[in-house]
Amino acid sequence: MGAGSHVVASSALYGGSHNLLHYTLRRFGIDTTFVPPHDPDAWRAAVQPNTRLLFGETLGNPGLDVLDIETIAEIAHANRVPLLVDSTFTTPYLLRPFDHGADFVYHSATKFLGGHGTTIGGVLVDGGTFDFTASTLFPEFTEPYDGFHGMVFAEESTVAPFLLRARREGLRDFGACLHPQAAWQLLQGIETLPLRMDRHVANTRKVVEFLLAHPAVEGVAYPELENHRDHALAKRLLPRGAGAVFSFDLRGDVAAARRFIESLTLFSHLANVGDARSLVIHPASTTHFRMDAAALAAAGIAPGRIRLSIGLEDPDDLIDDLKRGLKASQKSERSRA
């Protein structure tokens, strides 16, 4: 893929991914059409003759939209292009995208894979199933590449030409090289992934249950809840759990949300997710603070929207901390003074 190519991507993406596609890659001549992840017809309609990739997140940002990987993979393959999914929120323990038809997977290893919020890194996995030689759409793999000794990647490797080129070009030209110490820390994290993910999910379920019953909470968006739009899909794709990152709406305005966050002592106020420690962030006053009320509403972000990443602590301690925060959030400014 290069200048003149096109990507169809889910609109429910991590901000950094949206930025890469919408701003950075556009400067290099690669256009992206963003489509609602739930709408297969929109994915189909967005495919153009120059489309070379479909891309989505297994659990989308911020509403935890569950990607129907099988359906989107079918659309990709009908158009002879691969499907890449970001599986950061689900990890290989909760979901194996290759089993559902994805061709490539990537993770921010900084999150659950590393698991301790100490190490920055990423993982790109080639499932070995996409046949670049089945069409003439991918000369990057089927024609000699002068930039690497005339290598024809699809001849060099029958099943992993993408991996070969990603390593040669990505490492050498773009510098996406992990430090050995970071690699070791991430590998060490992965050794305990199943233990941690079970605990992350169990804690999350308890916290969700608590929040649902609390009068200061207007709503909780978690795919395991029956009122989540992707509940049925989550039951099918995510039987081990829908992850440990979710949002809820606090009753009240931005000030109430601020009081909530400032009253928490166990949750860390951080934009990261997937840490052993529980994390909290208030999008309206942090990641989206430049937006006014109308813009926030247009983006579907309520003034009282809170995002939590549930860690590995004792869930009762987490619930106690949230209780304190919720109580503080509902006090008026006057009564606080």
Partner: protein, 273 residues
């Protein structure tokens, strides 16, 4: 590089270097349900260090047209047809597993065309159990799973993974699955039947006229080192020059011990006769 062997399109990977029939030529022959890419870690070095490489896709495998050949002898004839097509008079032959039988048969029946013979993970008889033959015929995905497991030793897994960034089990599984999709129906069964029915091994071994190298994997569960002994004994008895190299690897020598395999092959290729 696409050629025509016996009138049908035939593919041979040339190691990322333009093929030159004037240089010494090494022909690499893969095993059952595989293609040229199993030699990726050795052939590129050969091609960039003074030899010309033809790493073939056998008929019905990878990029070479089918139908797949049913017997080792037919496959040996096909190798000669490929050499003719590439205008190669004489070459070193390297074969892995089923490919080792093809290389052996070719070298014995066409002695003027073969300068040296390297047999990797070889066995005679190369018996395939009825259970595995039946699985290959009726339950090919199961057969692929089993053979993939048996083809690798614990060396293929963490922490000693010899292919940084690659998962050897996963890559080999996908390669065999790709052959099932791209090749013809029952390819695995066809290949295994050819191995199982090959009866000429000892006779061919005794008829060899070129130096021979036998490379075995100490941990090979498919063709253990002792399974090559009948061949090497027959060769020695007939006065054939034989050297045996044992590597600490399973059946997948080329990926589990890429450097050791390369060193053995390249040293043999450049040894003065």
């Amino acid at each position: 590089m696409m050629l025509k062997a016996g009138g049908a399109p035939a593919y041979a990977y040339t190691g990322g270097h333009a093929f030159d029939s004037e240089r010494p030529v090494a022909v690499f022959v893969h095993g059952a349900q595989h293609d040229h890419s199993v030699w990726a870690l050795q052939t590129r070095y050969f091609a960039h260090h003074g030899l010309s490489v033809l790493a073939v896709d056998l008929p019905g495998h990878g990029r070479s047209a089918g139908p797949a050949k049913r017997s080792i002898a037919e496959l040996a004839d096909w190798v000669i047809a490929l050499l003719d097509a590439a205008n190669v008079q004489r070459a070193m032959l390297v074969g892995h597993s089923m490919g080792s039988l093809i290389a052996l048969d070719t070298a014995a029946r066409y002695p003027s065309r073969v300068s040296r013979l390297s047999l990797l993970a070889t066995a005679f008889p190369m018996t395939v159990s009825d259970a595995l033959l039946d699985a290959a015929r009726d339950r090919e995905p199961d057969a692929i799973d089993m053979v993939n497991q048996w083809s690798h030793s614990s060396i293929a897994a963490k922490p000693s993974s010899p292919g940084p960034g690659f998962w050897l089990h996963g890559s080999n599984q996908r390669l065999m699955e790709r052959m099932a999709v791209r090749g013809e129906p029952q390819l695995f069964h066809t290949d295994f039947s050819a191995c199982n029915e090959y009866a000429d091994g000892l006779e061919r071994a005794a008829a060899l006229q070129c130096p021979v190298q036998i490379l075995t994997g100490k941990r090979d569960a498919m063709t253990p080192p002792r399974a090559s002994r009948a061949l090497s004994d027959a060769m020695k008895h007939a006065g054939v020059q034989v050297e045996t190299v044992m590597l600490d690897a399973g059946h997948a020598l080329m990926s589990e011990q890429p450097d050791g395999t390369l060193a053995a092959l390249f040293g043999f290729a450049n040894r003065s006769a």
